[in-house]
């Protein structure tokens, strides 16, 4: 009986997984686009760009995502031009789109800081070497700066992606029936919150653990030059005298 209940709850919550993943994916995808723009603006060296990105990061990192979501979903519809706009209104009246917009704007602030840090952490020597080889600015960026910066950004980026998975649960407060919303409904119907939330919790945890594993694997694959060679890693070799 109890087992049946767990099984059916698990199944109902799992059926909402595609919706959770949809919010997650589009939030991250649009967030990445905005973050790239912000990073570019910040790195471009213009004072105005720097002020804008600083203000953007300050606002979106300093306030809770829930406030941002409510502001976009309930707040913006007060403007007449939003309600009469043929482009904005279809987006901003739909809770699903609003969640995606809020998540994308929010994660872009965190990600742009991650990318900025990664760009700054690219060793100067590598860039100087590229310059010495006579590479153009674009080639240098494409072949040296970008690959190194991406690899440096990866650990922090994976943390941000996991925070985004957790953030999708907020969609339930604006009536979206993703995993959290579904769990909420079952919980209200059955009044067995501990069992229901445990089921949902297991799914969220498995989801996040697999994302973390995936990123760990990508990181491992992208840094073969940092691994000790397999056959020599067992023994400690003497330090050559020439040093």
């Amino acid at each position: 009986m109890a087992f049946d209940f767990y099984l059916s709850t698990m199944w109902s919550v799992l059926k909402a997984l595609p919706l959770t993943l949809e919010i997650w994916f589009f939030g991250i995808a649009f967030g990445l686009v905005i973050a790239t723009g912000l990073t570019w603006l910040r790195a471009s060296g213009s004072k105005l760009g720097e002020y804008f990105t600083r203000a953007y990061v300050f606002i979106f990192r300093g306030s809770p995502l829930l406030v941002q979501l409510y502001l976009i979903y309930f707040g913006l519809s007060q403007f007449d031009f939003v309600r009469h706009s043929p482009i904005l209104w279809p987006i901003l009246r739909d809770p699903m789109y609003c969640t995606i917009v809020a998540m994308a704007l929010n994660t872009a602030a965190y990600e742009s800081e991650i990318f900025r840090g990664a760009l700054r952490a690219v060793p100067v020597g590598q860039i100087e070497a590229a310059k010495a080889f006579g590479m153009s600015a674009f080639t240098r960026f494409r072949l040296v700066t970008l690959p190194i910066a991406l690899r440096l950004a990866l650990p922090a980026y994976s943390t941000e992606i996991i925070l985004m998975t957790k953030a999708t649960a907020l969609a339930s407060v604006v009536t979206i029936m993703e995993m959290m919303g579904t769990a909420q409904k079952i919980q209200h119907d059955t009044f067995r919150p501990i069992e229901v939330l445990t089921c949902a919790g297991v799914i969220y945890l498995l989801l996040n653990l697999s994302i973390a594993r995936l990123f760990a694997w990508v990181e491992y694959r992208l840094s073969p030059h940092l691994r000790p060679p397999p056959e020599q890693s067992q023994q400690i070799r003497p330090v050559p005298e020439v040093l």
């Binding site: 829930l66 406030v67 941002q68 707040g75 649960a169 501990i194 919790g201």
Partner: protein
């Protein structure tokens, strides 16, 4: 010109609404948000130091418990944990009260919303604080611990005189981050009915139909809270590391 007049109207409505009592309500909301954050941080500090100790322990079992704690409470959506403590707490309390006969078989004993919320946010905060404490402990110079041992200090004395002061000093920047995180998490416990800033803004927005105004004000107030705490933590960092700054 019309735009300016419109803006003036907006400002005067905002002023009227805030002066009509919502302003005071929002200030109370800030007080509750700060209360929730402070109590959660304290719960988190207690749990966090225990979990950090478990994660650093030589015993596999304790390490496993510590690892599971930080993985679970950093990997689950905050909202889920809050629901679990609030509704789950209600389920447990009701079950216990019904079986002891202190309430009727159809009555419900609700989890106090402040308690449920603070426990949930505190436990989440504890998972992040555990990582901060663990990192700080690992950053203590090994030689200091060895020296303390060589002096014949007991484990308790080493803990009190060598480990705690240094962990506290090294943990200040990390704790600053957790504090910001906890302020933001506290907004989520509005779902349990604690009249903190978010719920107050929500109520105001729904009853006056000025959602843009109240959510903007709430957002600004959160920004004020998070940005005011930054220099405070910076000052604390300078103060605790004053004997470690390089001589000029």
């Amino acid at each position: 010109m019309e735009f300016l007049n419109d803006f003036k109207d907006q400002v005067s409505t905002a002023y009227e609404l805030l002066a009509a009592g919502w302003g005071v309500q929002l200030l109370w909301g800030i007080a509750w948000t700060l209360a929730v954050t402070v109590v959660s941080m304290l719960i988190g500090a207690m749990l966090g130091s225990l979990v950090a100790a478990a994660k650093l322990s030589h015993r596999g079992g304790l390490r496993f418990i510590g690892e599971s704690y930080t993985t679970v409470f950093r990997g689950e959506p905050e909202l889920l944990i809050i629901y679990l403590f609030y509704y789950g707490g209600t389920q447990v309390l009701t079950g216990v009260a019904r079986s002891t006969g202190s309430i009727g078989s159809t009555d419900i004993l609700n989890m106090p919303s402040f308690l449920g919320g603070v426990l949930a946010v505190g436990i989440i905060s504890g998972a992040y604080q555990a990582e901060v404490f663990r990192g700080s402990f690992l950053a203590i110079h090994r030689g200091e611990l060895e020296a303390a041992r060589a002096y014949g200090m007991s484990a308790w004395l080493r803990f009190r005189l060598v480990i705690v002061p240094q962990v506290l000093r090294l943990a200040v920047p990390g704790l600053g981050n957790v504090w910001q995180l906890t302020i933001k998490d506290s907004a989520l416990i509005s779902v349990t009915g604690v009249a903190e800033l978010m719920l107050t803004a929500n109520k105001a927005a729904r009853s006056t139909h000025h959602s843009l105004l109240f959510y903007t004000v709430a957002g600004i107030l959160y920004l004020v809270m998070t940005s005011v705490s930054t220099p405070i933590f910076e000052k604390a960092e300078r103060y605790t590391s004053r004997s470690f700054t390089r001589p000029k």
